[in-house]
């Protein structure tokens, strides 16, 4: 079997009772700022709010560092910190604990989330300083970090899904933060609704996987398939290491692996990864409606990732999400939340690696999205829109990485992207703040002289994303593309497609060129030439007329992030440079048990490909420099006039929103209208009919009551009255009459007496 999972031991769990503190601090911060933030802000001023929020982040990051130190002190195969708090529910085979776990992959994510999260919190102090809803912003941010940490650290699918939905909620809250603007509120709703589509797929995949672990299909004599659940609670005993010399030692080394449906990542990993359990084989051969179960699970789970990570065709929400405040764009829509899909695929690498179809699907969608995002990024004028499409495109790169099986490279790109994209977004935030909330790059220019720190950090981040070997983006992107080229075992719709890897490589190189082009375009348009903006709006809340450098709380964060973007390259220096695996690959190895086979290529080819990668970046950079430097070249305008129609199509995002509007939105509305018609005509009709019938019966019943029952009663009464009327005549009141009566009676008795005798 080509994509078999290698023989591995079960994960050794190291208890770490303090893990729950990591999400606790942001939760506390969120609770405090939500419940009494407005009061604190009115009473003590804004510093209290951000001291609480940033303090929570710093504490959380500190505990994360402690966990990191503890993890580094453990041998590689024992790097799985676990902390169970309590059982949430037990129902049949479903057992859910409120538990946190950290393996190297989760550790990396926790450090990124809390570390970059802290920096962005600090940035927000300066950026949001004038917003009256300061407390609300920080409460949401902390709540977001809490949810993201649950997503990352959850020991089982339930906790992860809780976080998954939580970040979606926070994303909605923060995009629509300025909810008085209908467009921004609509953008928030759009993000939320589009994510629901993805979550639907995700949860279906989850159910399918859970179900697939629990049973097998049997063919009945009639030819139909029937599902038969396995006996639950199977156990497999595994002895690690060499054969034991005595029974006590054997007991010590023995590990029991539970086989059966589970929601726990570790149990899932153990039973799938260890071949002796036979679970992997069983999953591979299971079919559902003629499709491989694993392929369906992989594709459905990836649909969830498509929503969360804005992949085609669910990418439409991310550019609109830029309506939120810029720190939100940096934190949620660039560095952390949108990478949740990548994280999820990497976390379930052992599932995806079993299905070449799922891998091919992930990688292909990733490549298409990368191309799609980059091409739109070419022509945007809104600086944040450029960055948004760049994010879509870079997420595509990450999915290429995790799709072709280079899980560590995908995770590495996630890390480097978190740094440079956060730096870019915050740089753009600094620019937007300086330009009085102007986001159109046509009205910027020449800001390099006015904002030197912002310019330098933005430039370094551009270098990183464009893929020059002096910063980190090169290393992660190059590794992804190289692995894509070497991957020839993916399949498409069940058909082996060896050409898919190289094709994705070519797309990737084109996208890399484009990336360098549009990033440097934004750099040149913003920072070089003459300032094209007006003199700001004169609303008298402290803005100067010309842009000036942002305060220290903003620039210091930019410097840290840009340094991170450069220094992160040390984590992934290629093996052919240093003759040993990259640090990050070595670190992440315990989390990524899936072994994917790559075609071996000679070293010169890898050197050559690195050269191609750098040249692609350089070409893009040179084009951008020629066209946009100082804003003097007339060529862009001429090109624009020449290719007006193509430009219009791309500028309008290939009309994807309009297509959605025409199909999904109008379809939904039509469907709603049909349902409304059915409701008002058919359902209401049936209800009214039932009402009429009931009324008819009631009337009938009323008539019976009135005429028959009451009639009988009245008849009795009338008879009594009549009898009374008749008999009262006898009562004359004349005593003689009575006496005559008595005498007559006595005579009758006497007469009768005689007659009877």
């Amino acid at each position: 079997m080509e994509h078999a999972v290698q023989q591995l031991a079960p994960l050794a769990v190291t208890p770490a009772g303090f893990l729950w503190l990591i999400p606790l601090f942001p939760l506390l911060g969120a609770v405090i700022n939500t419940t009494c933030g407005w009061w604190l802000q009115r009473k003590f001023g804004k510093p209290v709010i951000h001291i609480i929020a940033v303090g929570a982040m710093v504490l959380s990051f500190a505990v994360g560092c402690v966990a990191f130190a503890k993890m580094l002190g453990l041998p590689g195969e024992e790097r799985f910190l676990q902390n169970t708090l309590w059982t949430v529910l037990t129902a049949g085979p479903v057992h859910v604990d409120l538990a946190f776990a950290l393996d190297p992959l989760g550790m990396m994510m926790v450090l990124v989330v809390t570390g970059i999260g802290t920096l962005i919190h600090i940035f927000s102090i300066g950026y949001m300083a004038e917003d009256p809803a300061y407390w609300r912003f920080f409460a949401y941010l902390n709540l977001f970090i809490f949810s993201m940490l649950l997503l990352v650290m959850g020991d089982n699918f339930v906790i992860m899904f809780f976080g998954w939905e939580g970040v979606g909620l926070c994303s909605y809250l923060l995009i629509a933060f300025w909810y008085t603007d209908p467009a921004k509120a609509a953008a928030g709703m759009k993000a939320f609704v589009v994510n629901r589509f993805g979550d639907f797929g995700f949860i279906l995949g989850l159910f399918l996987l859970f179900w697939g672990l629990g049973g097998v299909w049997h063919e009945l004599p009639t030819g139909k398939l029937s599902y038969q659940p396995n006996v639950p609670g199977q156990q497999l005993r595994i002895f690690s290491g060499e054969p034991a010399t005595n029974s006590a030692e054997a007991e010590h080394r023995e590990t029991i692996i539970e086989i059966g449906p589970t929601l726990n990542f570790r149990q899932l990993r153990d039973q799938v990864v260890i071949q002796a359990t036979g679970v992997a084989d069983r999953l591979l051969h299971q079919k559902l409606f003629g499709f491989g179960l694993l392929a369906m699970v992989g594709i459905l789970l990836f649909v969830g990732a498509m929503g969360k990570s804005a992949q085609l065709p669910l990418s439409v929400w991310l550019p609109d999400a830029m309506a939120g405040p810029t720190p939100v764009s940096a934190l949620i829509h660039a560095a952390t939340m949108v990478t949740a899909g990548v994280y999820m695929v990497a976390r379930l690498n052992f599932i995806f690696a079993l299905s070449p179809t799922a891998m091919g699907w992930v990688a292909l969608i990733g490549a298409l999205t990368a191309l799609f995002g980059a091409s739109i990024g070419f022509f945007q004028y809104d600086i944040k829109k450029v960055l948004a499409y760049s994010t879509v495109s870079q997420l595509g790169f990450m999915f290429i990485g995790v799709g072709v099986g280079a899980y560590w490279a995908g995770a590495y790109h996630l890390l480097t992207h978190a740094f440079f994209k956060a730096a870019l977004f915050l740089g753009s935030g600094s620019v937007i703040l300086a330009c009085h909330h102007e986001q159109d790059m046509r009205k910027m220019g020449g800001l390099g002289k006015l904002m030197p720190v912002t310019r330098k950090t933005y430039l370094w981040a551009c270098i990183a994303i464009a893929g020059f070997p002096i910063a980190s983006g090169f290393y992660s992107k190059d590794e992804i593309l190289w692995k894509a080229f070497s991957q020839q075992h993916m399949s498409l719709l069940g058909m082996p497609a060896a050409w898919l890897g190289p094709l994705i490589y070519c797309v990737g190189i084109i996208v890399a060129t484009g990336t360098a082009f549009y990033m440097f375009r934004s750099y040149y348009m913003t920072f070089t030439g003459e300032y094209r903006g007006g003199h700001g709006h004169e609303d008298g809340h402290g803005h100067g007329t010309t842009p000036k450098e942002s305060p220290l709380s903003i620039t210091s964060v930019l410097v840290v992030l840009a340094s991170g973007a450069v220094l992160a390259s040390l984590l992934g220096l290629p093996a052919i440079w240093t003759n040993r695996p990259p640090i990050l690959e070595y670190f992440l190895e315990p989390s990524l048990p899936a072994t994917v086979h790559f075609t071996e290529h000679p070293h010169w080819m890898e050197w050559l490909f690195q050269l191609i990668g750098v040249s692609a970046g350089a070409v893009g950079w040179l084009f951008a420099r020629a066209l946009y430097r100082d804003g003097k070249s007339p060529v862009p305008a001429r090109l624009l006039a020449r290719w007006k129609r193509a430009w219009t199509v791309v500028y309008n995002k290939y009309y994807l929103d309009e297509i959605y509007g025409a199909t999904v939105v109008r379809g939904s509305l039509l469907f709603a209208r049909i349902l409304s018609w059915i409701d008002s005509r058919l359902v209401d009709g049936v209800v009214n009919l039932a009402g009429e019938v009931t009324r008819l019966f009631a009337n009938l019943d009323g008539a019976i009551d009135k005429y028959i029952v009451d009639g009988a009663v009245n008849l009795v009464a009338d008879c009594t009255i009549g009898a009374g009327r008749g008999l009262r005549r006898v009562q004359t009141g004349r005593i003689q009459t009575y006496l005559y009566g008595a005498l007559a009676g006595a005579l009758v008795v006497v007469l009768l007496n005689f007659l009877i005798k």
Binding site: T732, G733, R734, I735, Q736, Y740, L743
Partner: protein
């Protein structure tokens, strides 16, 4: 006494008792005066008393008939007292003791 009793048989007493009863009944039925009616009732009762005493002497023997008659006399006295009291009350109310007029209880 015995010789006198010799030609007095039970029938004689029964005839006297019957006559008394009939006179009483006639009085009660025909007179409208309440006092006269009371007197008629006395006649009826005494007619019955004659029968009781006569049957006791000729047929039953012992004293039970005599005692029965004594009870009837006592009851008749009581009845006359109550009856006269009612008649007096009625007379005070409507100044009349004609029973034809005492029909106001009818309704």
């Amino acid at each position: 006494m015995t010789s006198m009793m010799g030609h007095l048989s039970l029938s004689h007493f029964l005839v006297v008792g019957g006559l008394l009863f009939c006179f009483g009944l006639m009085t009660v039925l025909t007179r409208r005066n309440a006092v006269a009616m009371l007197m008629g009732i006395e006649l009826i009762l005494n007619g019955a008393n004659v029968n009781l005493v006569a049957f006791n002497h000729y047929v039953a023997g012992g004293l039970s008939g005599q005692i029965f008659a004594l009870f009837v006399i006592v009851l008749a006295a009581a009845e006359a007292a109550v009856g006269l009291a009612i008649i007096l009350a009625i007379y005070q109310m409507i100044r009349n003791i004609d029973t034809a007029n005492i029909a106001s209880l009818r309704h």
